[in-house]
Symmetry: C2
Subunit: 244 residues, 2 copies
């Protein structure tokens, strides 16, 4: 691990060198949390696509199609991005084609990276342990909300910075700031994130139980990784859950 940077919006990706980097895509509420949960529950693969139209060819092809826009399930789709839809019963052995307002767009914009993995509080320790062993710069990519900064993605990025940082680690200003925010928030993440606009948006949609779920640390020990067009479980022996 050579350096840790935080990209606060997918729109800022053109200003980072992706080629040699491991990109970690973060969309805490809720795409990256649901992707981690879904793969841990035995989904064969999750295929992130940017547009609703791109989902259509997969329908009736043995795939589940999932779509969220502005926080809600899009009509006619099997489900959206609530983690409670990504249970064993619903998706074990299945391929899910997923499009969301922010997270799947961010994944698509990271395709030039050496490797693209998915981060959430649900897999934070497994992910951080693996990142620490990579011989590449780490770029934590916050999906945000329609290219705007989002508090929850940044606080999560800060939690990862906090776990990765050693005396010699080169980190950028955004990583400094993200870690500061995390250190302020970590005593009571749920209360701190109540300030976030996304939280308020989700409150209006009565999906507060999703928020609580997405803030649970280390519920799973998978690392979703992009292989071609598909997110699958990282094939390397997973690091054991728990800090070394």
């Amino acid at each position: 691990m050579k350096s840790v940077q935080v990209c606060l919006s997918p729109a800022l990706l053109p200003f980072y060198e992706l080629d040699d980097a491991v990109a970690v895509v973060i969309d805490i509420f809720r795409a990256s949390s649901s992707i981690c949960y879904g793969l841990a529950n035995g989904a064969k693969a999750i295929i992130p696509v940017a547009d609703l139209d791109e989902c259509l060819p997969y329908r009736g092809n043995g795939c589940l199609v999932a779509a969220e826009r502005n926080g809600e399930v899009v009509e006619g789709f099997d489900f959206g991005n609530s983690p409670f839809s990504y249970t064993k019963e619903n998706i074990a052995e299945k391929t899910v084609v997923l499009t969301t307002t922010n997270g799947t767009q961010a994944i698509r914009r990271c395709l030039a990276a050496k490797r693209v993995v998915i981060g959430s509080f649900l897999n934070i320790t497994t992910l951080s342990d693996w990142l620490r062993k990579q011989d590449h710069p780490i770029l934590l990519v916050c999906s945000g909300w329609k290219n705007h900064f989002s508090l929850e993605d940044t606080v999560f990025a800060g939690a990862v910075v906090n776990r990765l940082k050693t005396d010699g680690t080169v980190i950028d200003d955004a990583a400094q700031a993200a870690e500061s925010l995390y250190l302020e928030a970590r005593g009571d993440l749920a209360t701190y994130l109540r300030k976030s606009s996304h939280h308020q948006r989700m409150q209006r949609l009565h999906i507060e139980q999703d928020i609580a779920f997405c803030l649970r640390e280390d519920l799973v020990s998978v690392i979703p990784v992009l292989e071609g067009k598909e997110l699958v479980c990282l094939n390397e022996p997973a690091a054991p859950v728990g800090r070394p």
Copy 2:
């Protein structure tokens, strides 16, 4: 004042509605600080331009030309963006044509705003008092470093959010975060900002006295405003220095 938002990088400006907004351009180290100081010291106007080439027609036309790139004065120009060049002796009654790595680029990208003003610690109280009375959304625009997030610009934006915010103010996630960072930093700004990459860049250039100067609050009571192509002192009666 309807709402307060913080734009963390000029590259994110396309995602904000500028038309009805008062845009405050922030480039603490050092363009916005030097602009405030220069106008307070009697400069007739400061003309921000994006490119070195754009400066040339103004040369020998009675204007001073100032250019900074990567923290250093560009060869052949009268000076760069160190506030110590913007003294009464140097610039009273003169027009300065200025181009910098970040700040003047940000100003140019805000041209669609209702009004463009310049903020720095040097004029923070005068500026905040004036902003509080505006009947428009406030957009605090951090110039950053080559479109990347910068700690010092964001902490300053947070200081303004902190001064403007009342119970009814709508603020976005970036403003929340900026205020959090400011509240953490304000006990000892200079030490906190030592973490910033720009500070380290300036330390290498031996311009640490510029940093200390740019962190001094309320040294001046001007508000630089863009009129056509020129930054001039706001023509309205300035609010008295000091909080109401």
